[in-house]
């Protein structure tokens, strides 16, 4: 995701920015105070940024983000721009977008929020030190520092939101991938579908299985669908009940469900739980399921007559699988 998409995801429009500014009590007076501090900031940027990086480079976990001198020089330059940005005296959409860009970059390189917040603490300390040295009047220092604090916290709120939005985005993409993988309906033959189920089935996935099975059967105008549950570790009442429901629904469409991959353990569980699956075609092995499925489309698997040299084809072939009833 680039920072422009984050602007949209986080709904950072003018109204939202105004609302945040109001809550952080970041007034126009603060902004003009920050703008007035610009010469001060320009004078001490290098000193502050250098000491800022002394901290980052002294800590083993933050040091790894700056592998060589060139990187350090490059990020120091960016940092100077960022620092001066605090004293631009502006807090509009363009400002927020710029801050978002920085946040997105941090997120992308995997700099976690704790280092971000910790580093910001250092900024505050350095700014406070220089303000105390330069402004003689205590009241002025307090006011200036308050304004800095407001815009820094404002920035931090955007950065944290960026981190959360990025994580949410990743989570959603993973969930979509899992959803897609959880019901892989395969076409194994003309009008015969196969759904190999693997992994635990919760009620959410169970619902999804039913919807997906019905949709695929209807799309392919399939005569039957084989559901193989060999890869499902636990078949409990809920799972069994859902399979019975799916079978009933598929039958309403005018197709059949064949349940295969029933292990001894699962067979025992189903009977002990008292689930009535008498309405379903059940078989232990997938290969048997495919053979049964073929009978629904008037086909059968036949053994190929073995050809030997000097012998007529089919002369000694074993009994072929006859036409099904």
């Amino acid at each position: 995701m680039d920072h422009r998409r984050y602007m949209k995801v986080l709904k950072l429009d003018d109204a939202e920015i105004a609302s945040r500014r109001a809550f952080f009590e970041l007034t126009d007076a603060d902004l003009s105070r920050l703008a007035a501090l610009r010469p001060f900031a320009e004078k001490y940027t290098d000193a502050i940024v250098d000491r800022f990086y002394d901290l980052l480079l002294s800590h083993v976990e933050t040091k790894r983000f700056f592998p060589d001198e060139a990187t350090v020089r490059r990020v120091k330059k960016l940092q100077r721009d960022y620092f001066l940005g605090l004293f631009a005296g502006k807090c509009d959409a363009a400002y927020v977008e710029d801050r978002l860009r920085v946040g997105t970059a941090h997120e992308r390189i995997g700099l976690s929020p704790r280092w971000y917040l910790g580093a910001y603490r250092k900024y505050m300390q350095l700014i406070a030190e220089h303000l105390l040295d330069n402004l003689k009047d205590d009241a002025m220092v307090r006011q200036a520092f308050e304004s800095v604090q407001k815009i820094v916290y404002f920035d931090a709120s955007i950065a944290i939101d960026t981190y959360i939005a990025a994580k949410m985005d990743a989570l959603e993409r993973h969930q979509a991938a899992i959803r897609e993988l959880s019901t892989p309906v395969i076409r194994v033959h003309d009008r015969i579908l196969l759904l190999p189920l693997i992994g635990a089935i919760d009620s959410h996935r169970a619902d999804q299985i039913m919807d997906s099975v019905l949709l695929k059967v209807s799309e392919a105008q399939a005569r039957c669908i084989i559901i193989d549950i060999a890869g499902v570790p636990i078949v409990d009442t809920k799972v069994a009940d859902n399979l019975v429901k799916t079978t009933a629904a598929v039958r309403l469409l005018g197709a059949e469900v064949i349940l295969t991959g029933i292990t001894a353990q699962v067979a025992r569980t189903i009977i002990q739980l008292g689930v009535d699956i008498s309405t379903m075609h059940t078989l232990s092995r997938l290969s048997e399921g495919i053979e049964l499925a073929l009978t629904f489309v008037d086909k059968a698997i036949r053994r190929q007559p073995r050809r030997r040299s000097g012998q007529r084809a089919g002369a000694s072939s074993p009994k072929t699988g006859g036409k099904p009833a």
């Binding site: 919807d211 019905l214 059967v217 209807s218 399939a222 629904a249 039958r251 309403l252 469409l253 005018g254």
Partner: protein, 122 residues
């Protein structure tokens, strides 16, 4: 015929294509027409095509199942064809699986099914 649902004769089969909701009078007329047709023409099968229906609630499902049972009393078998996947899911989730009703994917499949059954038991 007094109803709005057209009944089509194909040999000894009656095909009913439903695209309006089966509400009160419509359902009543449909059943009457269908039974009259069975009585007068002596058809032995009924195909109800609901591929045009976007929703089927339990009331409509009951009317359809009921029609099937009425036809059966007059010696005709019923095949329900073209149910949409989302309708099937809804009906089953509401616990209404329409047991005992024969189904097929589409009209063609339904007619094939009937032909096959006729061959099996003449």
């Amino acid at each position: 015929m007094k109803g709005t649902i057209p009944l089509l004769r194909l040999g000894s089969t009656i095909v009913a294509t439903i695209h309006t909701e089966l509400r009160d009078k419509v359902a009543q007329d449909f059943q009457d027409d269908m039974l009259t047709e069975l009585e007068l023409r002596g058809a032995n099968a009924l195909v109800i095509d609901i591929s045009g229906l976007e929703t089927v609630d339990t009331y409509v499902a009951r009317v359809l199942a009921e029609t099937g049972r009425m036809a059966k009393l007059m010696g005709a078998r019923t095949v329900l064809v073209g149910m949409r996947p989302e309708i099937a899911a809804t009906l089953v989730r509401m616990g209404y699986a329409m047991d005992g009703i024969q189904t097929a994917l589409n009209l063609e499949e339904g007619l094939t099914l009937l032909r096959r059954r006729r061959r099996e038991m003449p």
